[in-house]
């Protein structure tokens, strides 16, 4: 655990906390973006260049923009008057804690399941490409088909709305 890790951890967690606590929805969206950026930096610090840059490209370049647009187009960018805590916060806390416990448990187990993995593997982009086009080509194609169908579905939903308006 070095200093760099702690800086990135503070950025990520600070962004996530701010996303929950801020009153303005757009501010929350921007804070989530900060958390995404922190995660990307974490990937880079671990030597996973491709994952880090893909995280920035997809999450900051696309997901954050999508969230912000959704907020703007639904006219809910005004600040909420009441407190930021939902009335069901206790249930939410329990669910979050349970998810965290399961994740933490599986991660701790995986460390013991892979003994001797002390050397950081150097994965370059070429290896990722070879893996995606070789052994993992079927999952890749399935994901591609799934995404395409989702895209077509979204277009169809949008088209129906337009016809109804006319």
């Amino acid at each position: 655990m070095n200093v760099v890790f702690w800086i990135f951890a503070v950025i990520t967690l600070g962004g996530a906390l701010a996303a929950m606590m801020l009153r303005s929805l757009v501010h929350s969206a921007l804070a989530v973006t900060l958390a995404f950026a922190g995660l990307a930096l974490m990937f880079l610090e671990l030597g996973a260049q491709f994952a880090g840059f893909a995280q920035i490209l997809v999450y900051i370049g696309a997901v954050a923009i999508l969230v912000v647009f959704a907020i703007l187009l639904t006219r809910s960018s005004e600040e909420t008057g009441s407190g930021v805590f939902s009335p069901t916060w206790l249930r939410g806390l329990v669910i979050a804690a349970a998810v965290f416990a399961v994740l933490g448990w599986s991660i701790l187990n995986s460390a013991s399941a892979l003994p001797g993995a002390t050397v950081t593997p150097q994965v370059d982009v070429k290896q990722i490409g070879d893996a995606l086009m070789g052994p993992y080509v079927l999952p890749l194609e399935i994901v591609a088909v799934l995404l395409t169908s989702a895209l077509i579905g979204a277009v169809i939903v949008a088209m129906h709305e337009k016809e109804g308006a006319e």
């Binding site: 973006t33 840059f53 490209l57 370049g61 923009i65 912000v68």
Partner: protein, 391 residues
Amino acid sequence: MFSKLDQIFVVLQHWVAGFVPVSLQPIVLALVGVVGIVVVFPALFALTTVFERKGLGRIQNRLGPNRVGPFGFFQPVADGIKALTKEDVVPFNADHFVHFISPVVLLVAVFMGFAVLPVGRNMQLVDLDAGLLFYFAMGASSELAVFMAGWSSRNKYSLLGAMRAVAQMISYEVILLLSSVAVVMMTGSLSLVKIVEAQSQYTWGLPHWYVFTPWGLLGFILYAIAATAETNRSPFDLPEGESELVAGYFTEYSGFKFAMFFMAEYLAMFSVAGLGATLFFGGWSAPVSALSFVPSWIWFIAKVMVAIFVFIWVRGTLPRLRQDQLMNFAWKFALPLTLLNLMVAGLWRFMNPGVVRWVVCFAILAGAYVLMARVGMKREKFGPRSYRYAE
């Protein structure tokens, strides 16, 4: 002599780093490189503003700036002093923190893109294995900064400008990325240094630039269109269209913050032109092998400046697009063509080198272009062009 001149900046960088202890040398090397980028490109920006105003003046049959210094070349100094000393007006209702931070975020994101550009032989700040991906990741971050600027100003012109900018940048980013992917497929690497090296071989004194292949030519044209849209340059300058939106997303910025937006726009032009030169025009390699003795960084800067000239030329020539034309062009024309270009690049890779490969690939692309243009024209029901004059 010439090889020394070629590496003069690299030698200089190591000479400066030689003054500090070995443990600190990597930091100093990086710092010197960063200072180089932060000094050279803004200086180029200052020069470009004069050239642009003079060039546009020529196109519009007027003189352009000619008061400050010889031939008006000190105009950017005057502009800079003006921007620095002007009052910084922030709207009362603006979101102060976001309003303050967005020009900084934009400028940082734009500057980061230069980190992976090979400006000359051995002259890149970092040679990342995923360099191209890094570049596009930084480009994507600048979109959010534009949105932040428009939203935080609490001004409907700003917000409209930001929404237009983001919609446009997202649409054209797809084309920009996919037209570069063909180059990556052919090189087999995302590293920009490797991409340049793959192109800097010569046959009969002529270089192996990717633009001299059918897929490279179409890829470059699509890249150039998408790059113009990404940098919000005319004819894609809807986000800041003066006649409709005052100044678009940076309407509520004044003084030095305005200068920062201005600078970010021009720096983005330089970096996107530099990337285009790297991907399709062999980066720092010479156009004919006989001229290889000229230092590599001169070639790079020359290619960037030619691209800037074309940017200015196009700005002075073409009228602004309409929003629906912009979107239709991106999704219905340019994107299918880019996807086809990717497939043709694959075909090119697996066909035997020779004239047949050239003819087949070119015929597919040209045929698709003509067919799509014809079908598109039919669908839009364009008749013969007619002119209407004010009566």
